[in-house]
Amino acid sequence: MRNIVLERIVSLFLYVMVGFALFLLFRGHNRPGGGFIAGIIAAAGFLLYGIVFGSEKVLEKIRVNPRYIMGSGLLIALLAALIPMMLGKPPLTGVWTSLAGIALGTPLLFDIGVFVLVVGMIVSIFTNIMDVLKWNS
């Protein structure tokens, strides 16, 4: 049985949660938050979406195979490790530049990598479980 109200709320809620996750991600360096927490929250949004609409709809919504998301997260984190090496510093050293008064650096890139990987991992796991165990109503 379809529940229109629930469906509307959940599909709105997905954006709210992903937006909140991004907010947590970028403020994570100074206040509670960070890549891992943000990743779980964003993934929880997709999880909720998946429970209501089924895993196929989740995959449609994010368009990319979650395994690729996972891989690109790992690559972004690795990039954060490699950039300092190109500048002749030990890997994973924080390299900072300032843009309009906001400090930007490789740790932030690393955090984004963690975020992307966590989202990809959780989405990959639950869509697979839902798919194999026929949770798609």
Partner: protein
């Protein structure tokens, strides 16, 4: 020129690796075209051969190595030149020969790949100046020869022979590694040039016996010395070009080479002389003896190789100037005639379809060129003039007669072995080459009788070289002098000549030939006698014994592995928990000190107690619940309770993470658990009690750890450092996050990699279903 030689060796390795690419381009000409590189190397080495002054060695540094101690540096001196020329020259001939021999075989790419790598490894071994590099090349020859012997990998016999060869030579390789490391530690250098220059001799060192034993096992396994000789006859399961190469210049001769290389460093002691003379003597004798009872041409040759190797080991063990000279010459002699004979055997096999000497006959008439090449090689094998083999044998007798103390033992043993060699040469000659009335000539496959001329290049060239060097042995003087200088560490002038004058040694030679002929005339009774002895020794058939040993060992290992790796998850967990428990509790009690500081305890706060009570109730409910779903939900309550506790004590990030992770885990758990069968009590009461005890004990241990952690500080805590640097250098106020992504970023990188792996694991577990796949087909 020496740089060019080393570059060519490198080129051979490169060529081997490129074979899969080159073969489609070169088609059937692969062997012939690739043979040009070893021939070029042979040319470069020949140039050095004639220009290298006495008592000098050329060192070539490549500046490349795996370790500072293990540089690939190469040395070119008389000894490595003699071996290198044999390896590259015969290698080129073998490559050309296999181009024809292997024309109809499948898997030629693999064949050339391993053959060329094998050649490169052997050249590297011969020219290496660093003992560790030498070891690496030594192992490389073992591995590549494994693939070559087991070339017909779909048949049982070659596979077994290859495995046997690999296991035995790998045992030797392991010993060599230990020996090399010990030599390096004692001498302080792994470089041969430094060892030679400093005149180090390990004979007086307290570990000499151990090093010698290890080296001895290494060379005895590689060079097929008794009692490890049995892998070599099995190795003839390889295609004939491989046998020709293994026996004549490479593989088994690596042991001989190593002995000569280490002679200045280790040779001449009582242990060295005793062990090598004894083993070499026994090997020489049984090799020759068993060859008399064989019918297969390749098998006969394999046993004569064992005998020849025994001769060389014995000569090196005698450690006199004359004996080393004889060993070097005999290596050349043996390589020339054995390579030629194996190639002849291959041609005969191709053209008649059999290698059985009782069925072959009259080949001199039907295949004259092949036969003459074969006969010249046989002449060399039996040590008759004017071949180089004659000079070799004269030198051997000379060395044995001159040997102080032991000539009473080595002379009769050597004469006996040589008598049998003469007899087997005449036997082969008589059986397969001479046309006879009572034995029908065997029909040939090839219309023009001889195989195409290209086939014959190898054996003919080798036979002619043997003949030529026999006539003009003076060419070898210079290089032998140089080699002798590095083997004996003293200058020796070598003068070779075919005719030594009428002396004791010549008398011995004549006696040998006469006795050999008598054995040949009495071949029927002798053959029977050998047959009986072989039958008797077959009870102690070493290859089978070795196989039994291996299979028993595997059974033993399998049984014990099954006992430890039983596959029951609960027992793994029990083992893991119990081991951790015992170790940690022991450590905690051992550390002593206080557990609890009353003065530090804060007042009991009601809200904390409330959370604790709710969590404890949730745990108890989970334990006694009869429904999976409610058990999981109550575990979730515990998780949230812990998160709330984090909150109370100000760890906001931890609390958020705990909340979120707990939520996600519960949802996924519910998804999965929904499809499990109904709850059932499967474990007995006894095992439940046991599990409860273990669980409580582990819980108690964790409590102890947490209590104790307060009082144990191995290092100064670094939280202060983090707090100070977090904003100044990490540009962040949230210390937890700065630690995660900056201070401890490498840990995080590892952790997220594990996360990705876990997701991949879930994916495979869910998607990989072999039963389903089969039913779909």
């Amino acid at each position: 020129m020496e740089q060019l030689a080393i570059v060519l060796i490198g080129l051979i390795f490169l060529m081997g690796l490129m074979v899969p690419v080159l073969r489609p381009l070169l088609k059937n000409y692969t062997g012939r075209i690739l043979a040009l590189v070893p021939f070029a190397l042979f040319g470069a080495l020949t140039f050095l051969f004639f220009t290298l002054p006495d008592e000098t060695a050329r060192i070539v540094e490549t500046g490349f190595g795996f370790l500072p101690e293990m540089q690939f540096s190469f040395r070119i001196d008389g000894l490595s030149l003699i071996f290198g020329m044999m390896v590259s020259g015969i290698g080129g001939l073998v490559l050309g020969y296999s181009s024809f021999y292997m024309a109809k075989y499948a898997g030629r790419t693999k064949f050339y790949f391993f053959l060329i790598l094998f050649m490169g490894a052997m050249l590297g071994l011969v020219f290496a100046d660093n003992l560790l590099a030498l070891f690496i090349f030594w192992e490389l020859t073992s591995i590549t020869s494994f693939f070559l012997i087991g070339f017909d990998h779909d048949k049982d016999k070659p596979r077994q022979a290859a495995l046997q060869a690999l296991l035995i030579t790998a045992l030797g390789g392991l010993c060599l590694l230990f020996a090399v490391i010990m030599v390096g530690n004692i001498a302080g250098t792994f470089r041969l040039s430094e060892l030679y220059a400093q005149g180090i001799h390990l004979g007086a060192h307290s570990h000499y016996q151990t090093v010698f034993l290890l080296i001895f096992v290494a060379i005895a396994t590689k060079s097929a010395q008794f009692p490890f000789h049995f892998w070599l006859p099995g190795a003839m399961n390889a295609p004939t070009p491989i046998s020709a190469y293994l026996h004549s210049a490479t593989m088994v001769n690596a042991g001989i080479f190593l002995l000569l290389r280490l002679n200045p460093v280790m040779g001449g002691t009582i242990a060295w002389k005793g062990a090598l003379i004894l083993t070499g003597g026994i090997t020489m004798f049984i090799g020759a003896f068993f060859s008399l009872g064989q019918k297969d041409l390749k098998r006969i040759l394999a046993f004569t190789t064992i005998s020849a190797l025994g001769t060389m080991v014995m000569l090196i063990g005698m450690n006199t100037t004359a004996s080393i000279k004889a060993a070097l010459i005999f290596f050349i002699v043996h390589g020339l005639y054995k390579g030629g004979l194996f190639m002849v055997a291959g041609i005969i096999d191709k053209n008649t379809g059999t290698r059985d000497i009782t069925r072959l006959s009259g080949l001199l008439k039907s295949m004259p060129v092949t036969s003459i090449a074969g006969i010249l090689a046989l002449l060399s094998m039996s040590g008759l003039p004017p071949m180089l083999g004659f000079i070799g044998k004269e030198l051997i007798y000379d060395a044995k007669v001159q040997m102080p103390e032991l000539s009473w033992l080595v002379v009769p043993l050597g004469v006996a072995a040589n008598m049998m060699m003469v007899a087997i040469s005449i036997l082969v000659f008589y059986e397969i080459f001479i046309p006879r009335k009572n034995k029908p000539a065997i029909p040939l496959f090839h219309k023009e009788k001889e195989l195409p001329g290209n086939f014959l290049v190898g054996p003919v060239v080798l036979a002619l070289v043997g003949l030529g060097l026999g006539m003009v042995p003076g060419w070898l003087n210079n290089i032998l002098s140089n080699a002798m200088f590095y083997v004996q560490s003293q200058a020796v002038d070598v003068h070779l000549a075919l005719w030594h004058g009428f002396n004791q040694v010549l008398l011995l030679s004549i006696f040998t030939v006469a006795m050999g002929t008598i054995i040949f005339i009495l071949r029927r009774p002798v053959g029977k006698l050998v047959g009986i002895i072989i039958l008797w020794t077959d009870q102690y058939h070493l290859p089978e014994k070795f196989n039994n040993l291996i299979s028993n060992y595997l059974n033993f290992a399998g049984k014990h592995t099954n006992r430890i790796q039983h596959g029951y998850h609960r027992y793994y967990l029990i083992t893991f928990f119990m081991a951790t428990l015992l170790l940690i509790v022991y450590q905690l009690l051992d550390a002593g000190g206080e557990w609890f500081h009353p003065a530090e305890s804060s007042p009991v706060r009601m809200h904390v107690v409330l959370v604790l009570i709710i969590s404890a109730m949730a745990v108890l409910f989970a334990v006694f619940s009869k429904s999976r779903l409610s058990a999981i939900v109550s575990m979730g309550v515990l998780g949230y309770g812990v998160a709330v506790l984090y909150m109370f004590y100000g760890a906001v990030d931890l609390a958020i993470t705990q909340f979120l992770a707990e939520t996600i885990i519960m949802v996924i758990f519910v998804m999965v658990i929904f499809y499990l069968p109904d709850f059932a009590v499967l474990s007995s009461k006894k095992s439940r009690i046991r599990d409860a005890i273990i669980a409580l004990a582990v819980g108690a241990m964790m409590t102890m750890v947490v209590l104790k952690a307060r009082f144990i500080n191995m290092e100064e805590p670094i939280s202060q450092f983090f707090a100070e640097k977090s904003f100044l250098e990490g540009h962040g106020r949230n210390i937890v996050n700065v630690i995660l992504v900056d201070f401890r970023a490498l840990d995080t990188l590892g952790e997220i990699t594990v996360l990705a792996l876990a997701a991949a694991g879930v994916f495979t577990l869910l998607r990989f279903n072999p039963i389903k796949k089969k039913s779909e087909k």
